[in-house]
């Protein structure tokens, strides 16, 4: 039984990370109907920012500031800078194509993805940058329940992810900005006629979604200890899948999709074989899509005829 709970803990942690990235993916799609394939690369940039913050304060083994302060700086800087980068991408790469055929921004998104990936390669080199989390967050601070081990970083990741998801849900459902975002998502032209600043709303959506990806990047660095320019590809793919399974455009769906994929991966690895993880997980996803084409929590689109 302890093996079951250990795999559950591992799956929930990974799933929380996927969910956080999937949220940004889903938000942007919900508002712009754009599959932002550069989203995974924003996560990569966030992971690099976290790494350089650690280096800037003396490195993992010789930190010059308290660990809680370091973590706050890492998360805030990653959220702010990656959020800003997301806004810049929207402003200069996507906005001019807003009324173009949908294939144009899609191809641009792929181009931006390569641009970010290769820019990181040029700027930071190809070598893996190692966070060395265990140098400043000790395993001794982990929780042991029977033979189930829960790392303090895992706890932090899950708690922070839950807080961010809850905060985002509050923002979308109970604030003026959230109401504007929902209005733009339903009908951009009608929202504009009602006096909503559509450009600002879309920019804010990009900021929030990208900031979440930046935070997820730092979390991944703390959890998996490594960052290189290509880590965004798989993360983006998993997040995209999570968003689609949950129902693209649906924020609760993105959360649910992320958690389901994380947990499914963990249990397939643990109880069957790591060899078949992707085969079985993506096979299950195909089944879900066949049964519910609009995703678990997605709503079927009405077509005007």
């Amino acid at each position: 039984m302890s093996f079951f709970f250990q795999e559950l803990v591992n799956g929930v942690t990974t799933g929380a990370l996927y969910a956080l990235i999937a949220l940004g993916f889903s938000m942007v799609y919900g508002v712009l109907k754009l599959l932002n394939f550069a989203h995974g690369d924003l996560y990569m940039v966030g992971a690099y920012i976290g790494f350089f913050v650690i280096q800037g304060f003396g490195g993992a083994a010789h930190l010059r500031i308290p660990v809680p302060l370091l973590l706050v700086i890492m998360f805030v800087l990653a959220a702010g800078l990656v959020g800003g980068l997301g806004v810049a991408i929207e402003r200069f790469a996507y906005r001019p194509l807003r009324d173009a055929p949908r294939i144009a921004p899609l191809i641009t998104a792929i181009g931006i993805s390569f641009f970010l990936e290769n820019s990181a390669l040029l700027l930071f080199g190809a070598q893996y940058r190692i966070y060395n989390t265990s140098e400043f967050i000790s395993f001794s601070s982990s929780i042991q329940i029977g033979s189930v081990s829960i790392d303090s970083v895992q706890i932090m990741v899950v708690v922070l992810a839950i807080l961010l998801m809850a905060g985002l849900r509050l923002l979308v459902n109970h604030t003026r900005l959230g109401k504007q975002m929902r209005a733009v998502a339903v009908d951009r032209e009608a929202a504009e006629m009602l006096g909503i600043n559509v450009n600002f709303t879309i920019a804010a959506t990009f900021f929030l979604g990208s900031a979440l990806a930046g935070v997820a990047g730092v979390m991944a660095g703390l959890l998996f200890n490594q960052v290189t320019n290509t880590i965004g590809f798989i993360a983006g793919l998993k997040a995209f899948t999570a968003a689609v399974v949950g129902g693209i455009g649906s924020l609760p769906g993105a959360m649910l999709g992320g958690l389901l994929i994380g947990i499914a991966e963990s249990f397939v690895t643990g109880y069957i074989s790591s060899t078949f993880t992707n085969l079985i997980v993506f096979g299950l996803l195909i089944v879900v899509m066949l049964v519910r084409p609009s995703g678990l929590l997605g709503r079927a689109q009405l077509q005007k005829v």
């Binding site: 093996f3 250990q6 795999e7 591992n10 799956g11 942690t13 990974t14 402003r91 200069f92 790469a93 906005r95 001019p96 194509l97 641009t108 181009g111 931006i112 390569f114 641009f115 990936e117 290769n118 820019s119 390669l121 040029l122 080199g125 190809a126 070598q127 893996y128 190692i130 989390t133 265990s134 395993f139 982990s142 033979s147 081990s149 790392d151 991944a220 959890l223 998996f224 200890n225 490594q226 290189t228 320019n229 290509t230 880590i231 590809f233 798989i234 991966e265 963990s266 249990f267 690895t269 643990g270 074989s273 790591s274 060899t275 993880t277 992707n278």
Partner: protein, 385 residues
């Protein structure tokens, strides 16, 4: 208007960096200058490696050592050899494209690389048709030197040496009753697993064979599967950072198995899990006094390095010396005379601490692997053979 301009620039930039990086002409050898730089011994060699893509860190290191070798050899031999880069991304299709560019470039007389066995298989016939010698510093699949690719050479031993050597060490010295072996779904890794499994099974060891992609960085679920009876985890991987994370996940879940890594994990700057074993096709060159100048130059120019760079230095050096010998004999370097000179290579010592000569199939004569144990301070300690 500005927005459109940005997109155009971004698109061009992206193409330039992502797509067109497959083969860029480049680095001229910096050390070739000076009054002795012969005008009669001037030629080009190609370099094929994964300069971008998921294993760019390895390709980067290989490129650095190839550049270093050309630079040092040009200075020593008074030659003017130029290195032309080709990015294969560790993809056979990309390696084929780069090879076609190299073989149609008449100024290139030999090639260093490619890195992966699957790439060698893709380009072997093209190289043979062009009469172009090519020397890999990391392709270890057994099938590459069975006669299909007559212009292929390698300065590293093959999997049929490493796999059994490592497996026998585990059986005879670590005595596991059960073990986990995890391949990374690449030809390098699955080849080694195939070479090791029969030895484990013959020794009556219960084997849990797992498989994860190189791109995976979360091993917590896999680590949870390690049973107390599995006292060894064999990782024939190529990304040291992944093995380091695997070790951290083991510590976090209180698993005490010993990690045994193959040469792809030989990276003292990254893989430092105490008590682990790592094999390598070369010794730690930082501990070889004769290599001090190379180590110093490499560290000064490129920082720390792992196990993939030095063999490429050795491979490049073989090509450089072959060209120099052709020039000394009064001939102009061509593909055929450089190929003949490479076949006759007989270096009594090399950067790898062992002689370099090739058998009739292009394999290193008397090639061997070295085994290291990682100490509690993260240092690699050679285990005497």
């Amino acid at each position: 208007m500005k927005g459109r301009l940005f997109i155009a620039v971004a698109a061009v930039g992206t193409l330039a960096m992502a797509g067109c990086s497959s083969s860029s002409s480049s680095t001229s050898a910096s050390g070739a200058s000076g009054s002795h730089a012969s005008t009669t011994c001037s030629t080009s060699i190609g370099f094929e490696g994964p300069i971008t893509g998921p294993v760019a860190s390895l390709g980067d290191e290989q490129l650095h050592f190839a550049e270093l070798a050309v630079s040092m050899d040009n200075a020593a031999n008074h030659t003017k050899i130029t290195l032309i880069q080709g990015d294969t991304e560790l993809e056979p299709a990309q390696a084929t494209t780069v090879t076609q560019q190299f073989t149609s470039n008449s100024s290139i007389v030999a090639v260093v690389g490619p890195a992966g066995s699957q790439e060698v298989e893709a380009v072997g016939s093209l190289m043979a048709r062009a009469g172009m010698a090519f020397i890999s510093g990391s392709a270890t699949a057994v099938a590459l030197t069975t006669g299909s690719y007559p212009t292929f050479f390698r300065v590293v031993s093959k999997d049929s040496v490493q796999g059994p050597q490592d497996a026998n060490y585990i059986v005879n010295n670590l005595h596991p009753k059960a073990l986990m072996i995890v391949d990374d779904q690449e030809a390098y890794s699955t080849g080694l697993v195939a070479a090791m499994l029969p030895i484990f099974q013959a020794a009556g060891i219960k084997v849990d064979h797992e498989s994860v992609s190189q791109k995976v960085t979360d091993f917590s679920s896999l680590v949870a599967k390690i049973t107390p009876a599995e006292s060894v985890v064999v990782l024939p991987w190529q990304i040291a950072a992944n093995a380091q994370q695997f070790g951290r996940d083991m510590a976090q879940e209180h698993k005490n198995a010993v990690i045994f890594g193959t040469d792809g994990l030989f990276d003292p700057g990254t893989f430092t899990i105490a008590g682990s074993y790592v094999s390598s096709f070369g010794p730690d060159i930082t501990a070889i006094p004769a290599d001090a100048a190379i180590v110093q130059a490499a560290e000064a120019k490129y920082g720390s390095f792992g196990t993939f760079g030095p063999p490429v230095f050795a491979a490049t050096h073989v090509v450089d010396e072959a060209i120099a010998s052709v020039c000394k004999s009064g001939q102009t370097p061509t593909r055929s005379n450089v190929l003949a000179a490479i076949k006759n290579t007989n270096e009594p010592t090399s950067i790898l601490g062992q002689p370099i000569a090739f058998d009739s199939h292009g394999d290193l004569v008397n090639g061997k692997f070295f085994l290291f144990k990682i100490t509690s301070t993260g240092k690699y300690q050679l285990i005497p053979s």
